[in-house]
Amino acid sequence: MSDLILDIQNITKSFPRVIANNKVTFGIKKNSVHAILGENGAGKSTFVKILYGLLEPDEGSIKYNDKFFNVNSPAEARKNGIGMVFQHFSLFESLSVRENLILGIDETMSYSNLEKKLENISSKYNLPLDLDAPITSLSAGEKQRVEIVRILLQDPQILIMDEPTSVLTPQEVESLFVTLNALVKEGRTILYITHKLEEVISICDTVTIMRNGEVIDTSSTSNFTAKSLATKMLGQKLDDLKTSYDHIKDEYNFEVNNISCKFNDPFLTDLKNISFKVRVGEIYGIAGVAGNGQSELMDILTGENVNITSGEIIFNKINIQSLGPQKRRDLSISFVPENRLGHSAVPELSLSENILLSQFPKNNFLKNGIILKNNIDDYANNVIKDFNVITPGNDAKASSLSGGNLQKYVIGREISSNPKMLIISHPTWGIDAGAEHSIRESLIALSQNGTSIIVISQDLDELIEITHKISVIYNGKLSNPFKTNEVEIEKIGLLMGGKDE
């Protein structure tokens, strides 16, 4: 038994409507990288929160180095040698790296002592840091480095990493893996939470697969391929998606010419001279690490922001730059912004009512300003049926749907009106793999029917899978486009990190 650093027995945690962890049982070997793999909602986060003292389990026990272990707060967990790097960074944006580090540690420490320790950590684990830089000026990868160093200052035995690569460029991922390997070599244990299969295969020794709150399997990663992991994780097989270039017409119907926008706001990214063109039936991907101007660009593409400094947007030879969202819909352009709850859908309203947020000329939803309830109900029912939305009915509140189902519903609402143009941001952000697959499938099908699509996404795998062309946004500038089936991932990765061609 002594080679297990953590022995988890029958951990159960239920919330009012779901059992998030159901008799979770597995062991983590000392000095290994142990993956917990599962879709969103599989119960990974709940388990980790229990381990880190953020949640209390209803039942079950954890043995840590053969002793029963029960912590009530993250501070206590850290005292016991368990550290965690969260997916969303908890750093003070306006303070410097040094200030963030000293604020983050539980015991008092002098600056000189801190710097001595830092130097040691930085060189040993490949974690270079500029102590005087303010956090705002750092890239996502550098911010994560600060988080890791902050945890390492407390010399943890177990390091929990929650979806650490979700905001990193491919190169930053490489460098993170070097760090993780160095940490393990030293005798530490890493608990690696992810839903990315390739990462499990390439860096982890053992994997625990979770689905619907239960442990499906715990075994050495050498027993798996990415495919067999996926089948286990999902409980079903998914077909490969295929994009083809054959249906794309040699005719551009959407052009963005030299869009620039200055915001005078430190929390927004100015857009600089953005130009691109989309062909009829083409899926155009815009890659990039979060916070490089994606949401600012999206607001301009949807017409929610029409106050740009310069530039024009041409759709079917019409300059639409000054038109608001409804006027653009009248031209058959439809939008799906990143945020479902409160942006593309109103959580407090029913699914039927949510139909009315996005109306196209041929929709027959209104007569003299009076809502035709039967028509929106019919439309909602069709979307629910065609896009396999799981819901008790069209009168269910949007907030009662899972992320994946609501996203299918919102995208279904837009696609069902057969738009000529679809502009969509992060189509599969935070949803389960089943819904993700069906959304990507429907986007590809839509493009084959002659709809041009712009996809803004941080998920590079997604863009590689479904787009025909891809370009990268970095610090408000857009790169040249590349044909997705020809470009090397490394090149996109460099561009995402701000390295020019």
């Binding site: 009012p16 009530n72 969202p325 109103v346 009315l356 300003g369």
Partner: protein
């Protein structure tokens, strides 16, 4: 480690049934607290509550008085619902009411010796315009200069009251009024017709019910009602949908102001019959309680207006029969609002004495 102060934790699901019962719970708690207050004052609580809540409406005269008081409250509250649904906090209905009374009453004074069928409709329209114009000022300030409508609409109440004050002691003072601060009386055709002989309940009640019905229709069946609702729930979704926020703000303030203006006009052309200083016992402010007590729903607002109107009548009876200052009515209004907000909080959140 123990923690003595409870924390407020969101309930994962708020019960719809409990949501429905919030106003009822609030009223029951108000009655209980009221009994305790009466007990501490040395009265038999049952007798005091009877005097306060039952005896005022135990005659047809009492019921008529109840409706007279409930009419402006319900009309203003339904107008406020247009604002509150859109998350616009118009606190200035009292000023819009006053301005409606000034505009409509001004017509009444101008034609004080004319008896003709069009006088009252003209006064009503003028009242609506006056209230709407007064309501559009904070809307303009909010959309142009991003000012907080709570402050501007509230301050405009006092401006309106001073204008009324100025008019009734100055230019509009009744020349035969022995220098009392009041205007001439309106002509008979400038008065709201009475619905029953000998009772004060007047045609304003019919107008109010009609406008409440129209509002219900707008809220539940029209795109305008939908737009107000969406802007209130999530402004970002409204922007995504392409709703014009500026238009919605102007509409909400305009409609609310017009309703309050009509309420003011029906007060002065109904029970009062002329203009003077104290035309409204704070109907414009009390209607805020009515709107929330009625959960911004037309039917709810009708019931809430009756209950709050009763506190006005009860306070008068309490003063007469128990020799308690009539301000006790405000205590009851305050209690209802307090318990309403409290119950609403506890339906969506719970107190937790355990650390999460």
């Amino acid at each position: 480690m123990s923690n003595f102060l409870p924390t407020i934790v969101s309930r994962s699901q708020s019960s719809n049934i409990m949501n429905f019962f919030v106003p009822i719970i609030a009223i029951v708690l108000t009655l209980i607290t009221g009994s305790i207050i009466f007990l501490l004052l040395g009265f038999d609580p049952l007798y005091a509550l009877y005097t306060f809540f039952i005896s005022p409406i135990s005659s047809s005269y009492g019921i008529s008085e109840l409706l007279v008081k409930a009419t402006p409250l319900a009309l203003i509250a339904i107008g406020l619902a247009f604002c509150f649904k859109n998350n616009i906090y118009n606190i200035g209905a009292e000023g819009q009411l006053t301005m409606g009374a000034i505009f409509g009453g001004g017509i009444g004074i101008l034609f004080h010796d004319t008896n003709t069928f069009w006088l009252l409709p003209l006064m009503i329209i003028a009242g609506a315009i006056g209230g709407a114009l007064w309501g559009l000022i904070p809307a303009l300030l909010k959309t142009k200069f991003n000012t907080n409508e709570i402050l501007t609409s509230l301050m405009l109440v006092y401006v309106a009251l001073f204008i009324l004050d100025f008019l009734v002691v100055g230019p509009w003072k009744d020349p035969h009024g022995f220098s009392f601060p009041k205007s001439r009386a309106f002509s008979d055709s400038g008065r709201m017709p009475l619905l029953f002989d000998g009772l004060r309940v007047h045609f304003g009640l019919i107008i109010t019910l009609f406008l409440i019905f129209i509002s219900w229709f707008v809220f539940s069946k029209t795109m305008l009602g939908f737009q107000l609702k969406v802007s209130g729930f999530s402004p970002k979704a409204a922007r995504y949908a392409g709703f014009n926020q500026t238009t919605l703000i102007f509409l909400a303030f305009g409609i609310c102001g017009a309703f309050a203006g009509i309420a003011g006009l029906s007060e002065v052309s109904g029970p009062i019959g002329l203009l003077y200083r104290d035309i409204s016992p704070n109907y414009g402010f009390t209607a805020i309680i009515v709107a929330f007590l009625g959960r911004l729903h037309p039917l709810g607002i009708i019931f809430a207006s009756l209950i709050i109107a009763l506190t006005y009548l009860g306070a008068e009876d309490a003063q007469l029969f128990l020799q308690i200052p009539s301000a006790v009515g405000f205590i009851f209004q305050g209690l209802v609002l307090f318990y309403l907000l409290g119950a609403e909080l506890l339906i969506n959140y719970k107190l937790s004495f355990k650390r999460t």
